[in-house]
Every structure is written in C-alpha cells, then in structure tokens.
C-alpha cells in the first residue's frame, strides 16, 4: 500500500499546491494558535442587527422544531430513538453562520436535527424522515439519526458514537486533495470524545495538516454519565494537545461567542494551519433520547441553566436592549411556528415508503 503523504496529501492537479501547508511544528511544545485557553476569552462577534435577528430566528426554528418533534413522538408518529437539540442551539447557529455554504462540509452524530436546519435543509423533509415517510430526506429508511444532504454539504447524521470524527477527517482530506478551499466541521459530543478513533483522527489530521475543525459539543453528559465520571482530562479543549492541535474553550450558550471563536479557528484552518479543536460548553435540557428517567441530574440543575444561560433568551434580551420591539420578535415567532407546523403536517400526510424500498440502496446494483 502506498504510504500516506506526510503533511501534504498529494495535490491532484498541481504539485505547487504543496506550498499551502506551512509546517508550523517544531519539536518544542505546541504553541497554541488561536486563543487556546481554559477561560472563555474568545472574541465576541460584533453582529449587525440583521445578523442578530437571523441568529434569533435560526435558534428559534431549531427549538420549535425540536419541541414539535417531541410532541409527534408523544403522539406515536415518531418511533424509536429521537435526540433533541434543545438548549444547544447557539452552538450550531454560531458555527454554521461562519462557514461558506457550497464550499465547506459538516458532519455530526445522531443529535442532528439542528445541524440540518442550520445547513438550510427544508424542515419538511427532515420532519418526514423522523416520521419514517417516503418523502423524508433518507426516504424514511434512515430515521432521526441518519440524514444526509450533499447539496447542503451535510454529510450526516451518524448513529455510532465517534465514527463521524474519522469520516470528517476524510472529508477534510478530500477538501485538501481537491484544493477546493473547503473546511470540514466535524461535530461530536463529550462522550464521543473518549472513543479511540477520535485520537487516531486527531493524529492523522495534524500529521497531514487537514482543514478540519473538530467541534466538541460538551453538554456535560453522555446519556447518564457526566463528563468527570468518564474523562481523565475533563477540560476537553486540551484533548488535542499531545497531537499539537490547538484548542479553544467557548461559551456555547452565547451565539456571539461561538461565532467569534469559530472565525478565529477558521482563519487558522483556512490559512493551512491544520486542524483546530473547539470545545463548546453547552447543555441539553431534555433527556438523552425520548425515554430518559433523568436520575443522573437534578431538576434544579436543569432549571438553573435554563433560567440563567438560555441562548435564545439571552439573545432576545440583547435584541430588546437594542430597541427591537417585542412585537417584531412575536412576528418572527409566529413565522417560525408556521414553518414548523407545516413541516409536521407534511410529515404526517406523506405516505410510508414502498415495500420495494427495503431492497434499494443496499449496493449500487439492485438485487
């Protein structure tokens, strides 16, 4: 087998492209590039009012969509597993707002509805996938955890914890190989950060200087296991240190902090600096999936975070302080509710897939 290229994967067209990967390494300990700190001192993004309104609408859409999904689950229209993103909206909203659609790629785990909406995918076909209908984005065959849209640069939607990190590394390799200037955002959870293949990926990404941002959504729990019960190093932004991957820890409940941080990260990665690791401190309000006895944390803990750090309320307060009228926000809310209601109607009215679909897409050939 051919030896994989060191630092620079062979450029397909011009070998000259190799210059694009300056080795920033020496044998001295890694010098953090962006703000590699344990504090939350990443720059706060200065958004225009229009941008703030966009962030607000985006986060609201995710929240209302997830609330609706929860209701449909309760009605038996969604079955099996369904992982809601409520509480974490600022993470994906801030990150996705900074990337270039059509150029960059995104991959995540099974808690993926918010990522899809933030990638601009039609809520209707996402909801229809949750209800397992033919019009769903994976024709009803993938379900909540397994959704994809190459058109939107969204590479899934993966049920196996940690697997997407290696795939994201491969996406980044392909970006570099094709010299398309794209960056991959590879999202994973605090729990996933303990999978061995994550570290195999870190090593490869740094060794080959791949354009990837590793995004740890640290919502503090992996199902019922809290970070410090499963992680020797619980400051997850440091997890790349021995691979010389700079890390940043960011307040994931503040969309402007997220946006500010990811701009720094992207600057570095797009400049050919290799991977960056971002730890977003966030929180999931709902259970892990739909049946979760929640014995591993107290009601007060959840309540406290909702009251003090809710990303949507925080932004709302900011908007109102800037003089946005409550009515204006209400109109937005109405619009979002309508979008979500339409998605739910669509998902309910669509037919189930044809039986013959069971046998399609197993291999290229049909059998």
């Amino acid at each position: 087998m051919a030896k994989p290229p060191r630092k620079t994967p062979a450029a397909k067209k011009s070998p000259a492209a190799k210059k694009s990967a300056p080795a920033r390494k020496s044998s001295t300990p890694s010098k953090p590039v962006a703000k590699t700190t344990g504090g939350l001192k990443t720059p706060i993004y200065k958004a225009t009012k229009a941008e703030l309104m966009d962030f607000y609408e985006q986060m609201l859409l995710i929240r209302r969509f997830e609330e609706k999904a929860g209701q449909l689950y309760g009605l038996g229209l969604i079955g099996g597993f369904c992982h809601l993103y409520i509480g974490q909206e600022a993470v994906v909203t801030g990150l996705q707002s900074a990337i270039e659609p059509g150029k960059d790629s995104v991959i995540t785990g099974y808690r993926d509805h918010g990522h899809m909406l933030a990638c601009g995918i039609d809520p209707k076909i996402v909801m229809a996938e949750l209800t397992g209908r033919a019009s769903g984005i994976s024709k009803g065959k993938g379900g909540s955890m397994h959704m994809f849209s190459v058109d939107h640069g969204f590479y899934g939607g993966h049920g196996i914890v940690g697997a997407q990190v290696s795939l994201g590394t491969g996406l980044a390799f392909a970006h570099k190989y094709k010299e398309d200037g794209g960056v991959c955002l590879a999202y994973f959870g605090d729990g996933a950060s303990n999978q061995g293949q994550v570290y195999e990926s870190f090593n490869m990404a740094e060794l080959w200087q791949l354009p990837v941002v590793f995004v740890i959504e640290n919502n503090q729990y992996a199902m019922g296991t809290s970070v410090n019960r499963s992680s020797a190093e619980d400051q997850l932004y440091r997890r790349g240190e021995s691979f010389r991957i700079p890390g940043m820890q960011v307040d994931g409940m503040d969309v402007l902090a997220v946006r500010g941080a990811v701009e720094e990260a992207l600057k570095d990665v797009r400049g050919g600096g290799g991977p960056v690791l971002m730890e977003l401190k966030t929180y999931r309000y709902r259970g892990h999936s739909m049946s979760d006895p929640a014995k591993y944390r107290s009601r007060e803990e959840v309540q406290n975070i909702r009251e003090k750090s809710d990303p949507i309320e925080r932004l709302k307060a900011m908007l109102m302080k800037q003089g946005v009228a409550e009515d204006e926000l209400k109109i937005l809310d109405k619009k979002v509710r309508k979008t979500v209601a339409d998605a739910a109607d669509f998902a309910e009215e669509s037919p189930e897939p044809e039986l013959a679909e069971l046998y399609t897409d197993v291999l290229v050939e049909q059998y």
């Binding site: 065959k141 379900g143 303990n194």
Partner: protein, 340 residues
Amino acid sequence: MAVMNMIEAINSGLDNMMERDDNVVIMGEDVGYFGGVFRATAGLQEKYGKTRCFDSPISECGIIGAAVGMGAYGLRPVPEIQFADYIYPGMDQLISEAARLRYRSAGEFIAPLTVRSPFGGGIFGGQTHSQSPEAMFTHVSGLKTVIPSTPYDAKGLLIAAIEDNDPVLFFEPKRIYNGPFTGYYDKPVEPWSKFDAAQVPEDYYRIELGKANIVREGDEVTVLAYGTMVHVARAVVEEHGINAEVIDLRTLVPLDIETIEASVKKTGRCLIVHEATRTSGFGAELSALVQERCFYHLEAPIERVTGFDTPYPHSLEWAYFPGPVRIGEALEKIVGELKS
C-alpha cells in the same frame, strides 16, 4: 422463588455472582451510577462499590480489551456493550485477543470474560439499535455465543457463562425483556409475570451451556429458533395448528446438535428462524448440519425464515421483521409438501 422479568433475572444472576466471587467485576457505559440503560445493573454499584461495578467511557475497544487483560490476570469481567450494534469497535479485541489467547498460549492464558449485550429488533431502533450480529461471532473459533429466551434461562445461562473459563458473548433479546413478544405487533405483549418462565430462584443456579430446550413437542416439523424468535415461532405454530416441535437452541456455540438431530429424524422436516440477515447467517450453518446428519430422514427441503439481506430499516420494520406471515407461509409450505 420470585417473579422476575428478564432484566430482573439478569440483575439477580449478576448479583449472585458478585456475591460469590470477588473476581467478578462489571463495567460498561452507564452501568454504574445509572444502573444501565435497560437497568440490568441497577443497584449493583451501591451494593458492591465502585471498584466492582463502574462506568466506563464510550470506548468499546478499550472496554473489551481491558476485560481480556483483567481476565488473563484472574478476574472474571462481565463488560456490558450497551447495544450489540456498538460491539464492532471492540471486534478486534474479541477476535484477535479474547478468542485466541488460550490457543496461542497453549492454555497458559484464558479469557474468562462474558460480554453482555442487548440485541435484536422489533423496537423501532433502525439500523444502529436493532441488529443481530451473532453469526459474526459463531464464525470465530474460540468464542461461545449464548442467547436466552426467558427470565429463568437468562439467569441460569448467565451464571454458567460467567463461570465459564472461555469468552462468552451473551446476547440478550431486548424485545422480550419485559414479556415474550410473539411477532403479532398489533397485540399487546403480556408481561413475563403471567408465565411460568418468570418463576426464578433468587439463589444461584446454572443452566449448562450447550443444552437446547424443547419448548414444544411435536412430530410434523422441527422448528429451530433462539431469542425472540422462539416465542414468535411458537405462536405461529399454534395459530396454524401445526404439530411442530419447537427447539430453543439457547446456545449457538456450543451447539446441542444431538437434540436437533434426534428431533429432525423424528419429524423429517426442519424450519430455521432467525432475525439476522440470511446470507451466512447462523441458519446457514444449522441447515448444513441438519442436511449432513439427517439427509436420509428429510421429507422436504429445509426452510429458513430470516431477516432480509439489507440493513435494518427505520420504517417498514414489520415488513422486515421475519414475523408470523412469513413463518406461517414457510410452515405451510414444508408441511403441505408432504400432505399433497
């Protein structure tokens, strides 16, 4: 005696073994503080402490690899892999290490671990929470594979598995944790408490590995099944009024081929049922064995009803699941061929 569902029986078996043998330790994702996502290890950390029942990171390869090392040094680890669908990262440790340690050390080292893992479909779990990967393990020499179908069996077999000095895959059919699902998915499942097999001794007992259980005697056709499909097959046989002999294999490796052989020689016909995909499924092995041993007694071709050769779908689960309709058709075909 107490009335237990399958989870409670498994919990009781773990409890007995932890009490009897200090070397028994349990680890896995969410098994300690939380007591397991299906509650199989509930209360064990409280009772035996964090050094004997503890949470592991999400690291299946590490969990199984560490268990092999612990076993080589005299412990008797019982790791849980939360769903069988997540066992693949640990595959290398199971195949290259656990299964082969005894052979390559000429018996010097053993790997007495028991990997517990909920498996099988019927719960709307889609492709990452529904698989039946047993044949991947029966294919590997040096591993044992056990699949119980009742609370009573689950406890007795689990204890035998933990006491066994070789690596055992203990697959728990999660669809029947609370009651014997018969495949008639539009009917409610009756709880285990209504069945004799829920009468489980609170104390230690063993069911030897490699002993099948004839759950229904008959002389028209032999039905071979394990796990959830034992209950489905039995219900269909009764619905169709066919005098079938239904055999619950209980353990695939070691396999009780004598019981199978005697039955097929008596009935002359054989139906094999499993949820797993068909090609290279365990049914293929069973079919070959029956053919080798009973060829001159067979009065009809051996039939298999299995999952389709596709990933487990999210929707259309009941079309995919090898349920009453497909089993009924196969039975009528086998029996009908003789009658006509």
